[in-house]
């Protein structure tokens, strides 16, 4: 529409210019135009720049609606969704704000955010209602900006701006991993896995892991990764172990890492790590890369050993210090023909042995030579209880014959070895059983049974049972004798007799009656000694029997216990029988009485009154032989009794010996039991 200014009418003020005739209202369209143009310009300049993102499919991406976001802030809108000329990809054209344009360089990536429910959590839920959006990520360094990008199919787990370190992990096919799975360090998530991918040869799986700063400092040469997903059940010397990591890693898989030894050197550049199947395997692998040098050593064994192959561990104090490199059989000439011997070549790692970096072989040899002089030997050992895995162990053997570390040997210095029976679990268990079987149980038992049988026989012997009765009877008789009227009358009679004796003093002196009496009494005194001794021994017998029964009970050997119980029951019955208990008391009492009697006899002014009553003793003298006879009889019976005890004392010595043997045997069994109790592993390891 042209601006047609109306023609000026004829007016009476011709001096007015055309410009001044213009109405002020014209300002309105001018203003409107200016505003409209301004808005148009602003809209044009604000509309951003068109970028191109290629996706494999355009699921949910709608032109005009789908937004492009960065850190969840809308930075643009999709304007067009079309195909590439070959229909192979979907090209999404989006207009993004100019503000972010300088950052859209090579490392910028885009992916479509869709609702996702996984073990990692629920993400993109808002897209369920609002539709998908395209998320972009790039670092904070503006580089050469581009306008064309390849979109990702899966979300980026590590944003380009994240601080940290990217490492590559080689995963053996058995380990299940998913992109986004956590990488943990002692249970704390410090990184994420990206999408696992097959290697070019298709033999293994490689996955990039991103370790967030500052935990990426922990990635050193000493770092080992292992699969922490799932759960592991292991059975070992410690018993059954069930190890379950977090539930998330149970489902999606997870990687745990740790430094398996200290002072690991920092890793430079793109590091590739192996993922081990278990923590044990990872820690055991410390030798793989940790080596700071290899020192070759040879060990000779005199017989062939099963399970010794290259790669077998060499351990010292349960730490791996090296491994077997070669196993060869050599034939050596000896006095009577030739003999096969096994030569095992090892390499030792000075670093694992505690030497500082840069230690040469000479220092290691020097150290080994010193240790060998102190008894260090190479020997074979098994790695564990169940495992039949053999390993070579460097250990001090104090019983070893003196040997030298042959530094000059060719090709490698030779480490002396000691033969140890292969202590795998079978031979160990067998050895234990053999040792148990070798215990002289039967001998011990038969001996014990014999002993107890003889004790039983002794206890059951009617003669022995009669002993107390006999003793009691004897004592009764003695008491009767002493308490008898005749005996009681003796002093009176004696007094009378003394009076009578006075007369026959000379006769009496010649007869030597007093001396005879005194010797009889001395004899009786002598006889008392063994009786007392025997009595003193009895409680000891009982104590021994109890000890035997106790040790026997500990052994829990039925036959022994039964026999011992019966024996002891009868022995107890015997010992606790009334008569037996009374024996010592009765004996003492009777002896006291006897002594008193004799003392009385002595003290009754026999000598003094003898002189005065010698004359009147002739009558009484007739009775003396009877008295002497009876005293003799008593003494004979006492002697018999004492004799019986004397005979028993030999038997008792035997019994004591047997009991002592039993006690010794029981003590050694107790010692064995205590030793096993103290060190049960010896049962297994055989050491």
């Amino acid at each position: 529409m042209t601006d047609q200014t109306p023609p000026l009418p004829e007016i009476d003020q011709p001096n007015r210019s055309a410009l001044r005739n213009l109405s002020v209202v014209w300002l309105v369209p001018v203003l409107a135009l200016a505003v409209a143009l301004g808005i148009a310009w602003q809209a044009y300049s604000d509309r951003g720049t068109l970028i191109e993102i290629r996706f494999e499919n355009g699921a949910g991406v709608t032109a005009g609606e789908t937004t492009v976001r960065y850190r969840d802030v809308v930075i643009g809108t999709v304007e067009d969704v079309r195909f590439s000329p070959d229909l192979q990809t979907v090209i999404v054209e989006a207009r993004v704000e100019n503000e972010v344009l300088p950052f859209l360089d090579e490392d910028a990536t885009f992916w479509v955010v869709r609702p996702e429910i996984s073990t990692q959590g629920v993400s993109g839920l808002s897209t369920v209602v609002s539709g998908v959006f395209i998320e972009g990520a790039w670092d904070s360094r503006p580089e050469i900006a581009t306008r064309s990008f390849d979109g990702r199919e899966s979300p980026l787990f590590v944003l380009p701006g994240d601080e940290g370190r990217r490492i590559t992990l080689n995963v053996s096919p058995g380990i299940q991993l998913q992109g986004g799975a956590p990488v943990t360090f002692r249970g704390i998530q410090v990184g994420r896995l990206e999408q696992p991918d097959l290697t070019e040869d298709g033999l293994s799986i490689t996955v990039d892991a991103f370790i967030d700063a500052p935990h990426d400092q922990r990635i050193t040469q000493a770092t080992r990764f292992w699969d922490s997903s799932g759960f592991s059940v292991s059975f070992g010397a410690d018993g059954l172990t069930l190890d379950v990591e977090s539930l998330a890693s149970l489902v999606t898989g997870g990687i745990e890492f740790d430094e398996v030894y200290s002072n690991g050197q920092p890793v430079e550049g793109d590091a590739v790590f192996e993922v081990y199947e278990s923590e044990e395997a990872a820690r055991a692998s410390a030798f793989d890369v940790a080596s700071i040098g290899e020192v070759p050593v040879a060990v000779e064994f005199s017989n062939y050993i099963r399970g010794l192959v290259p790669g077998t561990q060499v351990v010292m104090a349960n730490d791996q210090i090296g491994e077997v490199t070669a196993v060869t059989v050599q034939s050596v000439e000896i006095a009577d023909g030739s003999k096969q011997r096994l030569v095992v070549d090892l390499v030792l790692d000075p670093g694992r042995m505690g030497f500082p970096v840069g230690t040469g072989a000479e220092e290691v040899y020097e150290y080994l030579a010193e240790q060998v002089a102190d008894g260090l030997r190479a020997r074979l050992a098994t790695a564990g209880l169940i495992s039949s895995e053999t390993r070579i162990e460097f250990a001090i053997d104090y019983d070893a014959r003196p040997a030298r570390f042959e530094v000059a040997a060719d090709p490698y210095p030779v480490m002396p070895s000691v033969m140890v029976e292969q202590t795998n679990v079978n031979t160990t268990a067998e050895g234990v059983l053999e040792r148990v079987a070798a215990l002289p149980f039967e001998e011990l038992l038969s001996q014990a049974i014999d002993t107890l049988a003889s004790i039983e026989g002794l206890a059951g012997d009617p003669a022995l049972r009669d002993v107390p009765e006999e003793v009691v009877a004897l004592l009764t008789e003695a008491r009767e004798l002493v308490g008898g009227d005749e005996t009681q009358a003796i002093p009176g009679e004696a007094r009378a007799a003394v009076a009578e004796l006075r007369g026959i003093l000379a006769e009496l002196r010649e007869a030597g009656t007093i001396a005879a009496l005194t010797s009889v009494i001395a004899q009786a005194d002598e006889a008392m000694g063994p009786i007392t001794e025997a009595s003193a021994v009895l409680p000891e017998v009982m104590a021994n029997l109890r000890a035997l029964s106790e040790t026997a009970a500990e052994l829990e050997i039925e036959a022994l216990i039964t026999t011992a119980n019966t024996v002891l029951a009868s022995a107890d019955a015997f010992i606790s029988s009334e008569g037996m208990a009374e024996v010592p008391a009765n004996l003492s009492a009777s002896l006291v009485e006897l002594e008193a009697l004799v003392a009385e006899l002595r003290a009754a002014d026999v000598v003094g009154s003898l002189n005065t009553t010698l004359a009147s003793t002739s009558a009484a003298a007739e009775e003396l032989p009877a008295l002497v006879e009876r005293t003799d009889a008593v003494l004979t019976r006492i002697n018999t009794l004492v004799g019986a005890y004397g005979a028993r004392s030999a038997f008792m010595g035997e019994t004591m010996d047997v009991l002592r043997e039993i006690t010794t045997a029981a003590r050694s069994i107790a010692q064995l039991a205590r030793a096993i109790e103290r060190n049960p592993s010896s049962l297994i390891t055989g050491r």
Binding site: M1, D3, Q4, T5, P6, P7, L8, P9, I11, D12, N21, L22, S23, V25, W26, L27, V28, P29, L31, A32, L33, A36, I39, A40, E65, S126, V129, S130, G131
Partner: protein, 204 residues
């Protein structure tokens, strides 16, 4: 038909005092500016408002009229898109009303006013009576063009249901309102007397 102009007279629009032509600039009784003294000014205003209305009518059609936000989805639609959408949904009646009110009438008004303004200078185009009727129609119908703006205003005021549904007016709503206002002013500025000027009185 005899007109005041042809009789060489002009009336004061304020007090009605009749002056001779050529009249003084102002009414000799009340001092009011006498019409016909500078008829070009009236036409200038018509053209200016018309032009302004046209200028703002362009963004009113390019920019979205409504910004509808339903469950996170934002839809923007211009006037024409709205009409097409309504047609797609089968609401032909409403589509027709919107189309007529938002597009036919404003554009018709532009043409009508432009025609009237031109016809004042070239008097031979149409009968004065027909032109006067056209002017009346334009003036009457002018306010009804605002129906679109009213719809937008009411919707924007009522539908504010947060996440479920929100309707906001777009730039086009303001532009359209301005456009309608400007064209109304343009029509108002038009002095219908100019239709009858100079006694162009051809009998029917």
């Amino acid at each position: 038909m005899m007109t005041a102009r042809s009789a060489g007279l002009v009336g004061c629009p304020n007090c009605g005092r009749v002056h001779d032509v050529p009249a003084p600039g102002r009414c000799q009784r009340c001092g009011w500016r006498l019409p016909g003294h500078a008829p070009d000014r009236s036409l200038q205003r018509v053209w200016a408002w018309l032009f302004a209305g046209l200028v703002v009518y362009i963004p009113a059609n390019i920019y979205p009229m409504l910004r509808t936000n339903t469950f996170g989805r934002t839809t923007e639609s211009t006037i024409l898109e709205g009409v097409v959408d309504l047609l797609h949904h089968g609401s032909y009646g409403v589509a027709l009303v919107v189309f007529v009110a938002s597009i036919v009438i404003p554009i018709g008004k532009f043409f009508a006013i432009a025609y009237l303004a031109i016809s004042v200078e070239r008097r031979e185009m149409m009968q004065v009576h027909a032109r006067h009727r056209l002017f009346e129609v334009v003036e009457f119908i002018g306010r009804w063009s605002m129906i679109d703006v009213f719809v937008v205003a009411i919707l924007a005021a009522l539908v504010q249901l947060d996440f479920a549904a929100t309707i906001n007016p777009g730039i086009a709503a303001i532009s359209f309102a301005l456009s309608v206002a400007f064209t109304m002013l343009s029509a108002q500025s038009f002095d219908p007397k100019t239709i009858w000027l100079d006694g162009d009185m051809r009998p029917r």
